[in-house]
């Protein structure tokens, strides 16, 4: 298993850089992963990250539709906040596994 150091903390990640132990995540770490992805985190970003983590912790699958129904953010803003591949990027920054869903 690979390890990476963010904000002075060493965390366990898989070969794609996703956390294998989501409890090692902190907001400071998120800021640094986001920088790697070229994103400057705002409160809006953190609201999304928290929603993703909450959903992951309750064992629910993530889909782009669930983001739209989250009440936190609509999909258009989601694509703007995490440009390119939003769900992949956002879950990486949120310190949770890459979603296995096709939708």
């Amino acid at each position: 298993m690979a390890q990476k150091t963010y904000a002075g903390v060493t965390v366990d990640v898989n070969e794609e850089g996703y956390f294998t132990n989501p409890s090692q995540w902190t907001k400071e770490i998120a800021v640094e992963i986001a920088k790697e992805e070229g994103i400057e985190l705002t409160d809006k970003h953190f609201a999304v990250l928290e929603f993703l983590r909450k959903r992951h912790n309750s064992g629910e699958a993530l889909s782009i539709r669930s983001i739209n129904h989250s009440g936190v953010i609509d999909v258009k803003t989601f694509y703007q906040l995490f440009p390119g591949a939003p769900l992949k990027k956002a879950t990486k920054i949120a310190g949770i596994p890459k979603p296995a869903s096709c939708v």
Partner: protein, 165 residues
């Protein structure tokens, strides 16, 4: 894991209007948008139903002449059962409710998600003329009506792929 020649753009053609045909296009298209791939969806012939306002959320699946159709439990559905009135509506309803459980949205909502992510939706001019469909009949997700030539122009570019579902 970046591969050498990534898919940069997909152009998906949907020419049929049954639930499974349309969803093949929508799932592939939405998946591409989610990966950050430039996405064009092109609806033609019976596929137009997926972007006609009054029809898009009322698609059906064929219960006659569909040899892969199974009854709950896995037995093959005899084609003669398909002619029972209401069977097609019931089967289509079942398909949609099973898809909904997997967070697969209705067609109009799916197109919302795709266009919100920057995906583009086009209608085929020839098929519109043939079926006497007017621009006003199309959903607001549609960015334009294209000829075949214009479709190929849209599809141009390195790493661009054309998919016929």
């Amino acid at each position: 894991m970046q591969k050498e020649n990534p898919v940069k753009k997909v152009n998906i053609i949907c020419a049929k209007g049954a639930i499974e045909d349309v969803y093949a296009t929508l799932v592939m298209g939405n998946g591409a948008v989610m990966e950050g791939i430039e996405t064009n969806l092109f609806f033609t012939f019976f596929g137009l139903d997926a972007i006609i306002k009054s029809r898009m959320d009322k698609l059906h699946t064929a219960v006659v002449g569909n040899p892969a159709l199974r009854l709950p439990g896995g037995l093959r559905m005899p084609t003669l059962l398909g002619i029972i009135p209401g069977m097609e509506s019931f089967t289509s309803w079942m398909m949609k409710s099973e898809m909904s459980k997997l967070d697969i949205p209705p067609v109009s909502e799916f197109l919302d998600l795709i266009t919100a992510g920057g995906g583009k939706v086009y209608a085929c001019k020839l098929a519109m003329d043939m079926f006497k469909i007017k621009k006003e009949d199309l959903s607001e997700h549609v960015s334009g009506v294209l000829t075949v030539g214009e479709f190929y122009e849209q599809a141009a570019g390195e790493g661009s792929h054309i998919i016929f579902t």
